[in-house]
Every structure is written in structure tokens, then in C-alpha cells.
């Protein structure tokens, strides 16, 4: 499976569980597919594929957006939330907080759709919960 295959399969699907997907490949050193799920236009997921995994990442916020004084509390809360949040986990890439899900390279298109929908919902949920820590 590569990004092009995935883009095609997602576009071929009319909808999945009532959600529609909009795909946009992003040019660069590695293939990245930007996928927007339904109404979650502002929080797209970025899908990249490695030798072993399909990585779906949604960007949440940067260090700049976090109230400096509540950073530790927020991190603590993120760790606490990591397990209750279905299928996704918090992570950090550079100065950016993200939420992501990693799937096996052998996952079916249905698994990936499920992941993308859950990830978008989780991203909104996570920002709602963590909003109190943001400027």
C-alpha cells in the first residue's frame, strides 16, 4: 500500500459510516496525504506510510499556544487521557502537540477509514478538554 493507492481508495468510497473523505496529496521528501473527514475541515489528518506502519497524525497546537504556567498540568492530563482515548495517542513533534494512530501496514481500507474518523473526533474532543490550558 502506498499513498497513491490509499488516496484512490478513499476517493472511490462515497462515504464510510456517514462520513466523507477529502484527500489532498502533499508534495515533499516523503509522501503525505492530507485527509479531511466530514465536517472536521480545520483539523485534517496527515497520513504517511513507512515500511511497517500507516501513521495518521492530526496536529493539535504548538507550544506557543499553551499557557506557560499550566504546561506541566496539561502534560499530566494528556498522559492520563492517553489510554481512555480510543485508538489514538498524544505525541509531540518538535514544538507541536499532535494526536496520532499507528496501524499495521497490512491494515484494510476499512480499518484506515475507522482510524481517520476516530482520530478526527478525538482531535476535537482533545482540544475541547485541553482548551483550559491554551492561551
Amino acid at each position: 500500500m502506498n499513498i497513491q493507492d490509499l488516496a484512490k481508495q478513499l476517493s472511490d468510497l462515497q462515504s464510510f459510516d456517514g462520513y466523507e473523505f477529502e484527500c489532498q496529496p502533499i508534495p515533499g521528501e516523503v509522501d503525505v496525504l492530507q485527509v479531511t473527514v466530514g465536517d472536521f475541515e480545520e483539523l485534517p489528518s496527515y497520513v504517511s506510510i513507512t515500511d511497517t506502519q500507516v501513521l495518521c497524525i492530526a496536529w493539535l497546537f504548538t507550544d506557543d499556544e499553551v499557557k506557560a504556567e499550566s504546561r506541566d498540568d496539561m502534560m499530566e492530563e494528556m498522559l492520563e487521557l492517553n489510554i481512555p482515548i480510543p485508538l489514538s495517542a498524544f505525541a509531540k513533534i518538535g514544538d507541536r502537540y499532535v494526536i496520532f494512530g499507528a496501524l499495521s501496514i497490512n491494515s484494510s481500507i476499512e480499518d484506515i477509514c475507522q482510524e481517520l474518523i476516530t482520530l478526527s473526533e478525538n482531535a476535537v474532543e482533545a482540544i475541547t478538554v485541553l482548551e483550559e490550558f491554551l492561551k
Binding site: I26, P27, G28, E29, V30, V32, Q34, D39, F40, E41, E42, L43, Y46, S48, T50, D51, T52, Q53, L55, I57, W59, L60, F61, E65, I93, G94, D95, R96, V124, I127, T128, L130, E131, L134
Partner: protein, 228 residues
């Protein structure tokens, strides 16, 4: 140093810069080479293992046939003694002696092959574990590298399309607003549908003369006349 530690060190040591990579291409290549070497070792060990196992089996067969020959000749010696032919019996006994020496030798060879086999089996297992371990580490490095590059590509894409990355709060607000809109629209549509179905029911009832009747001008006039 563990590979995760190396990755963390690289991330903290300035790999935050866009485009800068966790592990240079050279690092990844060295890893890949190590995996290839380990795979070669394993292939060699497996080849050796089959050779040695074949020899072990051959020797095993030889040991079994020598044992059979010894017991066969022991039977002959008994028969010679039964026929009181001591001389023949002695000759057979000499033969048995020779066979037993050879048997001992072959058993020793067999044992040494067996040891060799178990040593090679251990080696293959070790090589397999090593390869799995290297592959796991390589996958960590490659994933880190891929995520870094993907982030850089996304950031570049925002920059080149002149679109701004929204703050989380703004994104949330917009999404919530859109969801509220959708929700309101659905609710409005439902209300409208409910009204329509009410209205059509009313109409049908009226047609049958059921429910509150509309006051006609003549009925009002009749009422006024009656009260006069």
C-alpha cells in the same frame, strides 16, 4: 546507547529545525548493512546446519548398522561355541572386537556432530533474534525520519499555499460552529416536516368534518340573529 536514547538526543539536539533529520542517510545505511550482514550469517549458519545434520544422520545410520553387526556376530560366536569350535569362536570374537572399536569411534563422531548441530541451531536462533532486533531499531529510525520529513512537507505546503495554520482554539470554534449549524439545520428541517404533517392531517380531518369546524360567515350571522 539504545536506539530510542539516540533518537531523543538527536531530537533535543536541534533536529527541530525544519528539514533537519534525526539520523542521516549514512546512519540508516549502516543499519541496513548490519541487517544484511546478520542475514548472511544466518544463511551461512543454516547452510552449515543442513550439512552437519546430513553427516549426523549418516553417522547415526553407520552406528546402528555396526551395532546390528556386533549383535549378529555375537550370535555367530554362540553358535560356534555350541558346536564346540573354540577356534572359530575366537576368530569371531576378534571380529567383534574390531567392530566394537569402530562402533566406539563412530559414536564419538556422532556425538561431536550432535554437539555441532545444537551449537549451529543456537547460532541460527541468535542471528534471527538479532535480525528482528535490528529491524525493529531500523523501523524506529525510519519512522522518526519519516515523521520529521512529513512535518516539514506539511509546513512547507502551508507556506507555499499562503494559508495560515489555525490555532487550536480557532479550529475548534469553527468546527463547533459548523456542527451547530448542521445541527440547527437538521432541527429546522425536522420542525418543518412535523408542521407539514400536522397541517395535512388537519386538512384531511376537515374534509371529513372532524375536529374544530371553521366558522363560516352564515353560521356567525345565524348566531347573532338567534341572540337578538
Amino acid at each position: 546507547m539504545s536506539i530510542l536514547k539516540k533518537i531523543m538526543t538527536a531530537v533535543k539536539g536541534g533536529a527541530r529545525e525544519v528539514g533537519e533529520l534525526i539520523v542521516d542517510a549514512n546512519g540508516t545505511r549502516i543499519f541496513e548493512q548490519e541487517i544484511k550482514d546478520a542475514e548472511n550469517h544466518m544463511r551461512k549458519a543454516k547452510q552449515d546446519l543442513t550439512d552437519v545434520m546430513a553427516k549426523q544422520m549418516q553417522t547415526g545410520r553407520k552406528v546402528e548398522s555396526l551395532k546390528a553387526e556386533v549383535s549378529e556376530h555375537e550370535g555367530y560366536a554362540v553358535q560356534a561355541l555350541e558346536k564346540d569350535n573354540e577356534e572359530l569362536a575366537l576368530e569371531i570374537a576378534e571380529k567383534i572386537g574390531g567392530l566394537e572399536t569402530e562402533l566406539a569411534e563412530q559414536e564419538e563422531v556422532y556425538n561431536s556432530f550432535s554437539e555441532h548441530v545444537s551449537r549451529l541451531k543456537d547460532l541460527v536462533k541468535k542471528a534471527e533474534r538479532q535480525i528482528k532486533e535490528y529491524e525493529r531499531q531500523l523501523s524506529m529510525v525510519k519512522t522518526t525520519e519519516s515523521v520529521q520529513r512529513a512535518s516539514a512537507a506539511i509546513t512547507d505546503n502551508f507556506a507555499s499555499s499562503n494559508s495560515k495554520i489555525l490555532s487550536a482554539k480557532d479550529s475548534l470554534e469553527r468546527i463547533k460552529k459548523r456542527q451547530q449549524n448542521t445541527f440547527d439545520r437538521l432541527a429546522a428541517a425536522e420542525e418543518l416536516e412535523a408542521e407539514n404533517s400536522d397541517k395535512s392531517l388537519e386538512q384531511r380531518m376537515q374534509a371529513e368534518g372532524i375536529g374544530a369546524e371553521k366558522k363560516s360567515a352564515s353560521s356567525v350571522l345565524d348566531r347573532i340573529k338567534a341572540s337578538r
